[in-house]
């Protein structure tokens, strides 16, 4: 009996995915956002709540389907770009938490064609990804998750705000990242994690400046990582000493993130 039920539900599901695909085509809009929300463990009136929240926003069109697991839904938001879908996600989560304290809904969201073509495969992956992510943070679905080998970047930065930003940004570009907040743990990570590139501040706790650059080059690794310095230090002498000692690029703060992306890409390829 059991296998049969799953099979049935699979078939049911397949038809669900097809239905969603179909709806997207019907809207005829260039973009459409999809949000998958799982309220597992939440009360049964979740769906009405979700609908109510979406309803309360004037001018928002949406469509809701129940997902494979009870308490999970696909929400189609026609005409919404990724940032708008993301904001809807934030709003939904916040309102739900207002209604039920300590409630932790899981979300994955995407917008198409920004993140590729909407296929059955993608919808299944979205549904699965909610289970894989341990943290309750809103998850943005990305194609890169499928890719196997990615360049590794180690971010070394004492300032938590900049560190967080760089991490988010580089992950979005599809790099695998690790972070360190001081020179010593950075050197350890370079040896154990073997990044392809180190994006580093020069002014760090533990060890910093030129001695730090020297240490990177003397590490016990097959291939020393590329070094991109992102720092407040603007003294010319220091900059030229850095280049003499094998730093690949030097960017001063405040920096333009777009330029940073380009320089990192140039260094890696």
């Amino acid at each position: 009996m059991m296998p049969n039920t799953t099979l049935e539900s699979r078939q049911e599901q397949t038809s669900l995915y097809q239905e969603i695909e179909q709806s997207v085509k019907e809207t005829g809009l260039e973009v459409s956002g999809v949000l998958f929300i799982s309220c597992a463990g939440g009360p049964s009136y979740m769906e009405t709540q979700v609908r109510g929240i979406l309803e309360s926003q004037p001018g928002l069109t949406y469509k809701v389907w129940g997902g494979e697991e009870p308490g999970s839904f696909f929400i189609l938001l026609p005409g919404q770009t990724l940032d708008a879908v993301h904001f809807q996600g934030l709003l939904l989560k916040q309102r739900l938490q207002e209604i039920i304290a300590d409630f932790d809904p899981r979300m994955t969201l995407a917008s198409f064609p920004e993140q590729g073509e909407l296929t059955q495969q993608v919808l299944i992956q979205m549904e699965d990804s909610v289970k894989h992510h341990a943290s309750g943070e809103i998850h943005i679905f990305s194609r890169e998750e499928v890719q196997a080998s990615r360049s590794r970047i180690l971010i070394v930065e004492g300032d938590a705000t900049v560190r967080e930003f760089l991490e988010i940004r580089l992950q979005m570009q599809g790099y695998e990242t690790a972070v360190a907040d001081n020179g010593l743990s950075a050197l350890d990570l370079m040896e154990s994690w073997k990044p392809d590139l180190v994006l580093t501040e020069l002014n760090l706790y533990g060890i910093d400046g030129l001695p730090y650059i020297h240490h990177i080059q003397q590490l016990n690794v097959a291939e020393a990582p590329k070094i991109v310095v992102l720092t407040e230090q603007r003294v010319e002498q220091t900059i030229s000493l850095c280049f003499q000692n094998g730093v690949d690029d030097y960017i001063t703060k405040p920096f333009s993130p777009v330029e940073l992306d380009a320089r990192i890409r140039r260094c890696i390829h």
Binding site: N182, G183, L184, N203, L204, Y205, G206, I207, D208, G209, L210, P211, H214, T231, E232, Q233, R234, V235, E236, Q237, T238, L241, T252, K253
Partner: protein, 458 residues
């Protein structure tokens, strides 16, 4: 009574300035300054005598400061242990063939200067033992930059400390001749990678007393003194000086404790005698953490040394006191230091004796004794509470309510025993001074030894 009037007015000056200090600390970001070519370069001078246990960690900490251009010059003052050896091994230092020493100030001939191009901003001078002042002079002779900063080898600078001081210097570069930093007690704090990660009060009794004492002296006293430009001491543990003026006054005086007070008095004298406009400032937001002595023996020796140095400086510069030519320095600071700092214990003793004698004669007046004692205690305690309030308004370094309560408690019981001990040590220091006037060289050596003991035990 007068003592209290002076104390309270100094405290009042501190209060007047505290909000400015808070705001300038809160509203200054250093991210532009700390990488700027426009900030003056600084030479850090670190005299080290028998510091093989702690010197590596300290030098590493000093090399990671948040500052655009600076150099660290460690001066090994003829250590009998392996201070030089550990430094050379850790940093791969080799002797420089032609060290460019300038003998701007007299100091002993040095043995060699060590350097490694991989650490371009680190120099180590090796010289025969000659005391802390002589080491500093040797450091000045090698230093390449216009500002110098003296730092004890057993203290930890906060990453921003130097740039904060430099910012203060840049606000008024021509008149500023020296800036002192705030010294705090590191006992009890969590230290990681050469930085204080978690601020907490010392657990032991002796450091705790000192923590309260330092807070009162630095926040309650020095902020006020600096606002009327009457600062008489910039802590030897962390101070910034203009090199040209230090050279002009002949550098540090060799051979006895109190060289930090001595250099400031000389600067005051020089500037006033040459009728130059100047200021000696105190920068409470630039913090240096130091290990306080945590046993009675070491603490009493440290205090005796201070008493000795203070008396010596006072005796040598007595002509400045009550001399209108020296303005605030002559009319206020020097008399204050002679009467209330150097001679304070004697006054207290005679006053007490007189009161006791008086009361013995007429037992009905026991209340007088009680009331006078109460005044003494309460006004002192009020000053401590004031200092805590200054700390709370501007710096907020201690987070826990329990810490606050502990500080209040220790500020109170300080008056039962610790304060009296302080007076006793001072008198002992004076006796030492009068007894062996000429044996400063060996005394310095001993004191350095003590300091490294402290660091080891901490």
């Amino acid at each position: 009574m007068t003592v209290n009037v002076v104390y309270f007015s100094i405290m009042a000056f501190s209060f007047r300035n505290i909000m400015t200090i808070f705001r300038r600390a809160a509203y200054s970001k250093f991210n532009t300054l700390s990488g700027s070519e426009l900030v003056p370069s600084i030479s850090l001078l670190v005299p080290a005598y028998n510091e093989e246990v702690t010197v590596i960690e300290n030098v590493k900490c000093l090399m990671t400061l948040n500052y655009p251009t600076y150099e660290v010059i460690v001066i090994n003052d003829g250590s009998s242990d392996d201070t030089l050896g550990v430094l050379r091994r850790e940093f791969g230092l080799d002797p420089l063939p032609n060290p460019e020493m300038r003998n701007s100030i007299d100091c002993q001939t040095i043995n060699a200067v060590y350097h490694n191009p991989q650490y371009p901003h680190l120099y180590v001078i090796d010289k025969p033992n000659g005391g802390k002042a002589d080491s500093l002079n040797a450091g000045i002779n090698l230093s390449h930059y216009p500002l110098i900063s003296s730092i004890d080898a057993d203290s930890l600078l906060e990453k921003d400390a130097l740039i904060r001081m430099a910012r203060m210097y840049m606000e008024n570069p021509e008149e500023t001749v020296a800036i002192g930093g705030d010294v705090r007690i590191a006992n009890g704090c969590v230290i990681e990678n050469g930085a204080v990660k978690e601020v907490s009060l010392p657990r032991k009794m002796w450091p705790m007393f000192q923590a309260v004492e330092y807070l009162k002296a630095f926040l309650g006293g020095r902020i006020g003194w600096s606002s009327i430009n009457g600062l008489i001491i910039v802590s030897g543990a962390f101070g910034l000086f203009r090199k040209d003026y230090v050279i002009a006054v002949g550098g540090y005086r060799g051979g006895y404790p109190g060289e930090d007070m001595n250099i400031i008095i000389k600067l005051h004298r020089y500037m006033l005698e040459n009728k130059l406009k100047y200021r000696i400032a105190f920068c409470p937001e630039a913090v240096c953490w130091t290990q306080a002595p945590d046993t009675y023996r070491i603490l009493s020796n440290q205090r005796k040394r201070w008493g000795r140095g203070n008396l010596k400086n006072m005796i040598e510069n007595y002509d400045m006191a009550f001399n209108p030519k020296y303005k605030v320095m002559g009319l206020l600071t020097m008399p204050y230091n002679i009467i209330f700092e150097a001679l304070n214990p004697y006054f207290k003793i005679t006053g007490l004796l007189a009161l006791i004698g008086y009361t013995m004669l007429d037992m009905t007046h026991w209340r007088v004794l009680a009331v006078f004692w109460l005044i003494n205690f309460l006004s002192g305690y009020l000053l401590s509470v004031g200092a805590l309030l200054l700390e709370e308004l501007a710096f907020k370094r201690f987070n826990k309510i329990s810490d606050l309560a502990r500080m209040m408690f220790y500020s109170a019981i300080k008056f039962f025993g610790y304060a009296q001990l302080g007076g006793l040590w001072r008198i002992q220091g004076h006796i030492q001074y009068l007894r062996n006037n000429n044996s400063w060289g060996t005394m310095t050596r001993q004191s350095w030894q003590e300091k490294s003991d402290t660091a080891k035990s901490a």
